[in-house]
């Protein structure tokens, strides 16, 4: 098994940490992992993205052109990464703030209303965990127990009390991910 | 009576400093470096710390200090002696570490290293020999060359407007809190040499007591570079260098005078 993922959005949306938790989860089940961020000025308020690879074999290139999964969290990233999903791959996005929706027909497209759900749950910071939950529903590449172990590893101990909330968020994401139905073009 | 009779131990009044090697000094006759070397080695010898002392030689006339001083010495890149000494003092906190530097090395190319080692208050001794000229490379202008002074790169005399003022590095570093002891001495007469030795001794004592950085400037002559006889150069130094670089303690026990 090899899963090649791009996660892209705004800095501050938890893009890098979502990737980190995923990578840690992979380690927990003895997989090879790589986490390759865009870095530099992009980290400071602009867009951020991270390439995460989980594999049962030694990972060759940590830098990729095409991905099995794209997790897209803002319009700029949609513009940039929609076309990098391999045919048959999946694209997951939060429709909040997206004005130009994806148009590809050779991939599976899903929505997770993570911004809305996080607000409902009263904690904006679990946004990325809701998205992660959605992803894991469609691609159960890591077991939930390993995600929890991964969370423990990547959070410092004083934040461990937040783990149940994170778990709840993951479950919420799993429940709420829905296939995106493209609107047929109306011919006038 | 031949030379062998004259230098018999019973006839000796003064002898060579124990910690100076037998290598003939490469300095010009009349230069103050030899005396400054001697005094430093006398202090190290008398304090009984020759086995615990590590010197850092600069680039300039005293680049070959390691040929003359019979102690462990490492030779630094131009201006970097305070950085080299910093690392030695940090990794060997029980050793006595000193740099021996000229004005070009310490106050021009090595300004940053000097200021920052001083500012960190490294537990080292800096011996700064200031003769207002680049001796080794043949008499070019130094940061401490006096106004109007002729050198090969200021052939019409140093002009303040285009070349800046002679840099008083010693006063500058005295203002840094990390610096514990700052003094300016000379070695051109017995009286001055004795005072300079006391200053060097105090500096090494400060290292023993882990007081931080001690900075000993020695205003010296460069009769070759100044194109004078040794005696003329000493008189010129008293008349011209000392008014601009006045001798005496500037900071003692961490307190500005």
């Amino acid at each position: 098994m090899t899963e090649e993922i791009i996660i892209a959005g705004f800095g501050g949306q938890g893009v890098l940490s979502m990737g980190k938790i995923l990578a840690y989860s992979g380690i927990m089940q003895n997989q090879e992992v790589s986490w390759m961020p865009s870095y530099g000025p992009e980290m400071r308020g602009g867009t951020a993205n991270v390439t995460v690879i989980l594999s049962d074999e030694r990972i060759s290139s940590p830098y990729l052109k095409l991905f099995d999964t794209a997790i897209i969290l803002n319009q700029q990233s949609m513009d940039k990464f929609e076309n990098t999903v391999k045919p048959g791959g999946i694209l997951i996005y939060d429709p909040n703030g997206i004005s130009v929706h994806p148009v590809r027909k050779d991939i599976k497209i899903f929505q997770v209303e993570a911004t809305k759900l996080a607000a409902e749950m009263g904690n904006k910071k679990i946004f990325n965990m809701i998205i992660l939950g959605g992803f894991l529903k469609e691609k159960p590449i890591v077991k939930l127990e390993n995600v929890i172990e991964g969370l423990k590893k990547s959070l410092s101990e004083r934040y461990h009390f937040l783990i149940p909330l994170n778990e709840e968020a993951i479950n919420k994401g799993m429940e709420s991910i829905t296939p995106y139905k493209m609107k047929e073009k109306v011919i006038e | 009576m031949d030379i062998a009779d004259i230098i018999k131990p019973q006839n000796q009044v003064f002898c060579k400093t124990k910690l100076m090697t037998d290598t003939a000094l490469s300095y010009c006759p009349g230069c103050g470096h030899g005396t400054a070397h001697n005094l430093t080695m006398e202090v190290v010898d008398e304090m009984g710390i020759s086995e615990e002392t590590i010197g850092v030689a600069p680039v300039g006339c005293s680049v070959l200090a390691y040929d003359f001083m019979n102690i462990d010495i490492t030779q630094a890149a131009h201006g970097r002696a305070p950085a080299v000494a910093t690392a030695i003092a940090r990794t060997w906190p029980e050793k006595y570490v000193f740099t021996y530097q000229g004005d070009g090395d310490l106050a021009a190319i090595g300004t940053a290293e000097t200021i920052h080692a001083c500012n960190r208050g490294e537990n080292i001794v800096i011996i700064f020999v200031n003769n207002g000229i680049y001796g080794m490379t043949g008499g070019q202008m130094a940061p401490t060359t006096l106004e109007g002074m002729v050198s090969s790169t200021s052939p019409y005399g140093r002009e303040i407007k285009s070349m800046g003022s002679p840099l008083k590095m010693t006063e500058l570093v005295a203002n840094l809190p990390g610096v514990y002891y700052v003094t300016r001495q000379s070695v051109h007469t017995h009286k001055h040499a004795r005072k300079a030795k006391k200053a060097i001794q105090k500096a090494f004592e400060n290292t023993r007591l882990k007081k931080g950085l001690s900075f000993v400037e020695i205003v010296s002559n460069c009769n070759s570079g100044w194109k004078m006889t040794p005696n003329e150069s000493n008189i010129w130094m008293e008349e011209h260098m000392f008014p601009y670089f006045p001798l005496g303690d500037i900071k003692v026990d961490g307190i500005l005078k």
Partner: protein, 359 residues
């Protein structure tokens, strides 16, 4: 037991330095390697092992601090990125000339000038063709993974002390910034001062106790002496070529086309080789792990087997010169690489192989 962690390359290197029993680190922040000094300052190795960590006023001061500690036989390292390494080159030349052991890490970014902070391999010439002034070489290790960022620290110190010579770990922004699984080695104790004097007392300036004085210098005013020093250095480099060459061959046995790449480019090229094999193209990868010494003989042997060679580097074509020299122009050699901080994709590498070599 050794520990399994998810770490950035820069962090893994910093942790490995502590565990290798390093005595000191001196550095100056610069992207993309500031995590090294940040990690060390956070970890406080002074408390863990007694290792000294100091943020210097400049890269120049940092490399000269390395020179100072190395003069006394201490295990010392510094790290920087391209423009900072340019500043360190004078000091590196002094380290080589004065025959001092030290480890220097370059997490390369794009240049010339202030360039870009994104990954690059444009410092190949600087690393293996001297860089600083004078007749000297660096032993150059090129890690291609976070694991190697960790492992190569101890290897680098071993080589540095074996030859009393500076060793360069040539990484780049990609390897430095990415996170991978890393197996950390157990903590090695630092040498006590007594052990150090026992081991390095024949040359290091530790205080002239029970022996003649030691002098560290790179200066020989007599030309005959200086020539002897240069010959001594050249002998070391010859020995390195005989005893400490490192490389990796991937799918080379039946290869008809060869990619030569190191560091991050080797990782990307490995994927390109995988993609090529899927298309039925018999491609292989030779990855030099040491850039000096260079696997010249191995390349020459492969030249009889393959139809063409692609040198893949994140630069405008530097290592290709060594590939051409090694194969003595027996087979066509072409270069492919992106510059300016752009990273080539495996697909681009495969396309270049097909267009430039297979045709």
């Amino acid at each position: 037991m050794s520990e399994l962690k998810l770490m950035k390359g820069n962090e893994a290197l910093a942790e490995a330095a502590i565990r290798a029993g390093a005595d000191a680190y001196f550095g100056y922040p610069i992207t993309p390697q500031s995590e090294v000094i940040e990690y060390l300052m956070t970890e406080q190795p002074e408390k863990r092992t007694g290792m000294v960590v100091l943020q210097a006023e400049s890269e120049i001061a940092a490399i000269n601090m390395v020179y100072g500690a190395a003069s006394t036989g201490k295990k010392v390292l510094t790290s920087s990125s391209s423009p900072g390494i340019s500043l360190k080159l004078e000091g590196i030349s002094y380290l080589a000339g004065a025959e001092l052991p030290a480890v220097i890490v370059n997490v390369v970014r794009g240049g010339p000038g202030l360039g870009t902070i994104q990954p690059s391999q444009a410092d190949y010439f600087q690393s293996v063709k001297g860089g600083g002034h004078g007749d000297y070489k660096l032993y150059v290790l090129a890690p291609a993974s976070v694991q190697e960022m960790s492992d190569f620290v101890e290897d680098a110190f071993d080589i540095a002390f074996k030859y009393r010579a500076p060793v360069l770990i040539l990484s780049d922004g990609l390897i430095g910034q990415m996170m991978e699984k890393v197996q950390l080695k157990d903590q090695k104790p630092r040498l006590t001062d007594e052990q150090l004097i026992e081991k390095n007392g024949s040359w290091a300036v530790t205080g002239r106790k029970n022996r003649e004085r030691n002098i560290i210098t790179s200066l020989d005013l007599e030309s005959e002496k200086m020539e002897k020093r240069v010959h001594r250095l050249m002998k070391k480099y010859e020995q390195m070529e005989k005893e400490d060459l490192r490389y990796e061959k991937i799918l080379c046995d039946d290869a008809e086309y060869l990619i030569v790449a190191y560091g991050s480019s080797a990782r990307i090229s490995q994927k390109a080789v995988e993609l090529a094999r899927k298309k039925g193209i018999k491609a292989g990868l030779l990855r030099p792990i040491t850039l000096f010494p260079y696997p010249k003989q191995q390349l020459l042997e492969l030249a009889d087997q393959v139809k063409g060679i692609l040198s893949v580097e994140l630069n405008a074509g530097q290592m290709i010169e060594d590939v051409q020299l090694s194969v003595q122009f027996k087979v066509p050699v072409e270069h492919f690489g992106r510059t300016g901080g752009i990273i080539h994709t495996p697909e681009e590498v495969l396309e270049a192989l097909e267009q430039k070599i297979i045709k």
